[in-house]
């Protein structure tokens, strides 16, 4: 059986890029529920690609198809140059997978889990042990290696999940919502590790609900809504496409009707958000002063007024007509702070 390194080099040598390619990929579940309605992707080797979308948009279903856990009902997909249906075994050799909610056995220790993962990938016992030590150290879990996973915090579980996905040095890494529910420190630690892996040559496909995550990490972002990709490009290009900055106005009395009426004269109104009236200014930053004067002339007391540069949320709104729920303030598990290992 060829070693992992040998396999990887064979993949690089024989198979042409891109790392992931889908054509009209579809999945319809029994009962006629369409989860993925024709997704086209072309993800280059050594790229970080973020699949951004709300719950139920089709992100996880797409990942499950690309990782051979779910058969497409239409279209085709190749991963590392291999077809996900007819060459599923080869795909599994080439990928590492960390699924949503870190599917770990709470009764196993961290070390046992990584060693088991090594065995699943045909790595010999001694080599598996060496890799387990190295990966546990890499994700900062060497002191917790012999503790049961059930005693780990959420952040530690995600790091262990990531380490176990790396045991066979995969060419492509799939991360399904790797930081959902984590505190900012743990999220940052995962981001740093993902960036490091990418620098070392790993292609990363991650799904996320967090705009900040996609913005910070990704070379390319695909926005998925209702099973379809509605926008794709680099974060900068997507934001540029949306164009002008927008103004967020909160009135002291909390009402919005009057503010929206006045703001509408200065640009395209956007859906209200968190009690603020929003407008995309026709004249960019130069349009702020006239808005302030107009609000003042109308006798409205402004509590806050912010000029906001375009973000991926604006891109999301522009493409879908609504905000990405929870995008700015990710839920953080209680007691999520790292316990000492």
């Amino acid at each position: 059986m060829p070693g992992v390194t040998e396999r990887r080099s064979r993949v690089h040598t024989i198979r042409a890029m891109p790392a992931i390619e889908t054509r009209d990929l579809q999945r319809v579940f029994s009962g006629g529920i369409t989860a993925v309605a024709g997704v086209d992707l072309k993800i280059a080797d050594r790229e970080i690609y973020a699949f951004l979308g709300p719950n139920g948009a089709g992100k996880t279903t797409t990942v499950r198809m690309l990782t051979t856990l779910l058969r497409p009902t239409g279209g085709s997909a190749t991963v590392a140059g291999f077809d996900v249906v007819s060459e599923a075994g080869e795909v599994r050799n080439a990928i590492g997978v960390a699924l949503q909610e870190a599917a770990l056995d709470p009764l196993m220790t961290g070390r046992e889990l990584i060693r088991l993962q090594a065995t699943l990938h045909g790595i010999r016992r001694a080599e598996g042990q060496r890799r387990a030590e190295r990966l546990l150290a890499r994700v900062g879990l060497e002191n917790a290696a012999d503790r049961r996973v059930g005693t780990y915090s959420g952040g530690m579980r995600r790091r262990l999940d990531l380490a176990s996905a790396l045991v066979h040095t995969p060419q492509i890494l799939f991360l399904d919502e790797p930081t959902t529910g984590l505190d900012p420190v743990s999220r940052k630690a995962i981001w740093e590790e993902v960036e490091k892996l990418n620098r070392e040559g790993t292609t990363v496909f991650l799904t996320t609900q967090y705009l900040e995550e996609a913005d910070n990490l990704a070379d390319q972002v695909g926005i998925i809504d209702d099973g379809r990709i509605v926008a794709e490009g680099t974060p900068a290009a997507l934001k540029e496409e949306v164009g002008r900055p927008h103004l967020e106005v909160v009135l002291a009395d909390g009402t919005m009707d009057r503010a929206e009426e006045i703001l509408g004269r200065f640009g395209r109104p956007l859906p209200a958000k968190d009690g603020a009236a929003l407008v995309e200014l026709k004249e960019g930053a130069a349009g702020v002063a006239p808005v302030v004067r107009a609000l003042d002339d109308a006798g409205l007391v402004v509590e806050s007024l912010d000029l906001v540069q375009p973000s991926l949320d604006d891109v999301f709104v522009a493409k879908t007509g609504y905000h990405l729920e929870g995008s700015e303030t990710p839920d953080v598990e209680e007691n999520e702070l790292e316990s000492p290992a």
Binding site: T67, Q100, L107, G122
Partner: protein, 257 residues
Amino acid sequence: MTNLRVIGALGRRSINQTFRRPQLIAPILIFPTLLLAIQVGGAGRAVDLPQFPEVNGFLDFMIAGAMIQAALLAGNSGGIALALDIEMGFTDRLLAAPISRFAIVLGRLVGTAALGAATAVWFIAIALIFGAKIEGGVTGALLIILLVTLSAIAFGAIGAAIALRSGSASVVQGLFPLVFVILFLSTAFFPDNLLLEPAASIAEWNPLSFIVEGIRDLVISTFLGPSFAEGVAALALVSILGLLMSAAAMRGRLKRG
């Protein structure tokens, strides 16, 4: 070779999991032991009934039933553990790895087999401590361990099939009472000639009766009679049925995703 290593590794995990989760192992040993104690203590004079088989004591008669009850519960417990793996997504981790799909089921059955062997040893020890005699001697005891182990695998395969089909630990756990119904409609605890209709007819064709009688034969008889052969045949039938069911259930699960 790789698949054997994978099955071995998953089997080790399964054994560790059972011993680390007391709620999985406790019912397998405690329920049959308690039932055995109650039945032997309370109904020991049943051996005086006319038509009761020739045995040294009531414990000698009952021990085979207790072992099969434990094997059934071990199979059910293995099914619950597999369903829990599905529920928590651990099975997806295994399915995303380049291993044979059926190795996942076989790995689980290795753990169930180990549990079956352990329960056989436990009940042989109880039998010997409390004065029963294994007429088949050491060879008989080893054959009993083998039959109980294979029984646990057969019942475990059925448990795995239900787990893969339902994906729900509570569904598999819900079959727990059924174990007792199947058991009491066999000759596990009563001789067939003392059962009333329709239980007698059901017990006559219940594969469990053949398996129990095969094991009982090794306890109460010094030679391997037709009961042993029939027990092995019934066990083979249940095993094949269980493995086919679990293979089909795995295929169905992969198709559904």
